[in-house]
Amino acid sequence: MISDHLTSPAAASDRSPSGSSLSRRGFLQAGAVAGGGLLLSLSLPFANREAEAADSFTPNAFIRIGTDGGIVLTMPYVEMGQGTYTSIPMLIAEELEVDLNQVQLVHAPPNEKLYGNPLLAGVQATGNSNAIRAAWQPLRQAGAIARTMLVSAAAKRWNVDPASCRAQKGEVRHEPTGRHATYGELAADAARIPVPENVALKRPEQFTLIGTPAKRLDTPTKVNGTAIYGIDVRPPGVKIATLAQSPVFGGRVKSVNDAAAKAVKGVRQIIRLDDAIAVVADHMGAAKKGLAALVIEWEDGPHANLNTREIVGELEKATLNAGAVAQNIGDVGKAMAGAVTKVEATYQVPFLAHATMEPMNCTVHVRRDGCEVWVGTQVAARAQAAAAKTTGLPLDKVVVHNHLIGGGFGRRLEIDGVIRAVEIAKQVDGPVKVVWTREEDIQHDMYRPYFFDRISAGLDAMGKPVAWSNRFAGSSIVARWLPPGFNNGLDADTTEGAIHLAYALPNMHVEYARVEPRGIPTAFWRSVGPSHNVFVTESFMDELATTAKQDPVAYRRDLLANAPRAKAVLELAAEKAGWGQPLPGRVGRGISLQHVFETYMAQVAEVEVSRTGAVRVRRVTCAVDCGTVVNPDTVRAQIQSAIIFGITAALYGDITLKDGRVEQTNFDTYQMLRIDEAPAIDVYIVESREPPGGMGEAGTSAIVPAVTNAVFAATGKRLRKLPIDPKELKQV
């Protein structure tokens, strides 16, 4: 469902030629808003290949300037803590010459055709740290075009040269005559001005907003309890449901005795699905009490006896056979044969749950002729499609109300929770909010995949790596989530961080073997491919430095002659961390370097290992070159956040299966880093005018090897399997 102003005939009337070199007209059209005002309809480049082929203009973002001067951006990305709702409006406000607080945001309704993410093959999704990367050019251009049209409208009205007018703080001024008019007063006239063909964007030194630490726009309601997340919606008459899903993935309900549950005060209904039971009640307290009173017998199905070690065995076996070649440079076989020293290792990373603080939830009202869904999702259009399919209703009869997200990290790129809620709601008269207990949330997540890596290198007499060979096996999320993105056994995510390394490696061969684990679903997880690959490559690079008896920073630096941005962050992090300065016993520093999400990052972790083997990260120093910085405070916040997220994984993150069941249940068995364990974090941002790189996830992949390399420096123990096992580090 799209509001009226988004489908004004003016927006769709013109047809622009499309082509590989994108003219400004090709991605933007102007028209009048019903009721007056200016509407800019944008087509973000390559959002929709079908539309391009049809040679038609398909807008996918909208900026409306009303006659009241209000500026409304219909926002194709969601806010989940990463600051998007502040940084995206900054791009428009910068060129439009308005204050940031004049730009109002509206959640985009589900419509893949309109709001597809150009960097995610047109899926309407917020993920892969790319909101700013996708919006950087088009939204600034849109702001500049709107400003130019408003200035033209004013100049025409006053019969003066547009060049003698100036846009400032939401109005156009003509200094020689002292005349001025607000954007609201000019919006209707501006709608009749032809879209300019050539509009110059500001040079970086002219930026007044971009690069400044703008205040977050979404935070005041989050400190006084008034922000509404998906879990907070209360449509009139809503009932609360909670559920038990088959503890073994793929199992079914065999029998259920609900007599005791039905007797619980406030319990209204017990719903039996093929593989789950839900208790519908007046409030969650009654629903949980009812759930506990159910006697359910499960038929566990084919994965009844599955344990993690069997999955690992299958992955390990897959690394003994050839995979798909992700990158090949030179001749590794020949180089390896001629190497003076050979180093070999295997690495493993575990399954991980997302554990978003807002547990999985979705509210649904199914009527005979329509369906409403209230949910915080990273994929609104997929949520709508899933609800339509599950109800059998046409797509236009399903309304999705998207909400603030209490943590995404990839979990809310999936629609399993929506489907489940609709299945339950189909059997409930009236709206029902399905809230998962934390135990269900942890035990029925879709997990960061387990990976097994077999890696080797050959060093010359000077200790330099002349050959690098890496073969790893694990799940491809892209192959399931975005099948066209998986080709010839490869996808860009699963291999990111394992290939196209910043280092000059004359002979390199990397293979990936896709192995989908049995009996456990997998999904994107903050920093995705790099969360696995950077741990392996940066740990192994450390091993090579050790073998070569060289300093880990110096060893890396020598391989970066052709990568100045990588070298700069490496040197900056090392310098700021006091690399090389003496430390007490059982304390060590470790470095990592990566180039992922189009961002260069180096981190130094300083860790202390107790006699009992407990690892404490005392301090982290991060140097980052993420190109042009839109909001430096958000960059710092995202890095601090990602580092805590990564340390949590390095120290504690481990989802294991026993008899087909996830063994972890709540924050006692699936621990999170807490404030008393959080390190001091110093972030240094390298000034750059390159296009922006991704920021939401890079810090997570970088911290993990920095920590394990620091543990090696402190104890001499090389950690090749996550999470860190204190037993291995116990001083004997």
Partner: protein, 156 residues
């Protein structure tokens, strides 16, 4: 059987089992959704409220255990001097990311500041380590508490 509890200065009567956790009475019965559900086992602190000024986890606090005690929630904490200072410091320091845990963080911090105007790092650790933040805003939470304490010290 009904239970009457006093929430933010107002008596509220609930028709729920006496062992119903306060969290669900607040969220689902009274419609006060600022207090959040995170774990249901007092492991994460998202559901923190004040009972007679003391931070408690509402997810394990039965409504029939409250008696005449006064409950304060995130919706009203801004009316207390410590709560107002914490909220201001939270915004000044840009603590918040996804924000879901922040109701609980603010409530724990406000209780700390009300009882201890000059908390040390270890006081902060002790008072705040029961509150998980998955976005990892801990560095800024610590700074914000210290800022709020400084502003309290100035009588502001």
């Amino acid at each position: 059987m009904t239970t009457t509890i006093k929430v933010n200065g107002v008596d509220r009567t609930l028709d729920v089992d006496g062992d119903t956790p306060l969290l669900w009475a607040l969220r689902d019965v009274l419609g006060m959704t600022g207090t959040k559900f995170g774990c249901g086992m007092a492991l994460c602190g998202a559901c923190t409220v004040h009972v007679d000024g003391v931070a408690v986890r509402s997810c394990i606090t039965p409504v029939d255990s409250i008696g005449k005690s006064e409950i304060t929630t995130i919706e009203a904490i801004g009316a207390t001097p410590a709560g107002a200072k914490i909220q201001k410091a939270w915004l000044d320091r840009e603590v918040v990311q996804c924000g879901y845990c922040q109701s609980g963080q603010v409530m724990s911090a406000a209780a700390l500041l009300a009882s201890n105007p000059n908390p040390t790092d270890s006081d902060i650790d002790a008072a705040m380590s029961g509150n998980i933040c998955r976005c990892g805003t801990y560095v800024r939470i610590r700074e914000a508490i210290k800022q709020a304490a400084r502003s309290a010290g100035q009588g502001g």
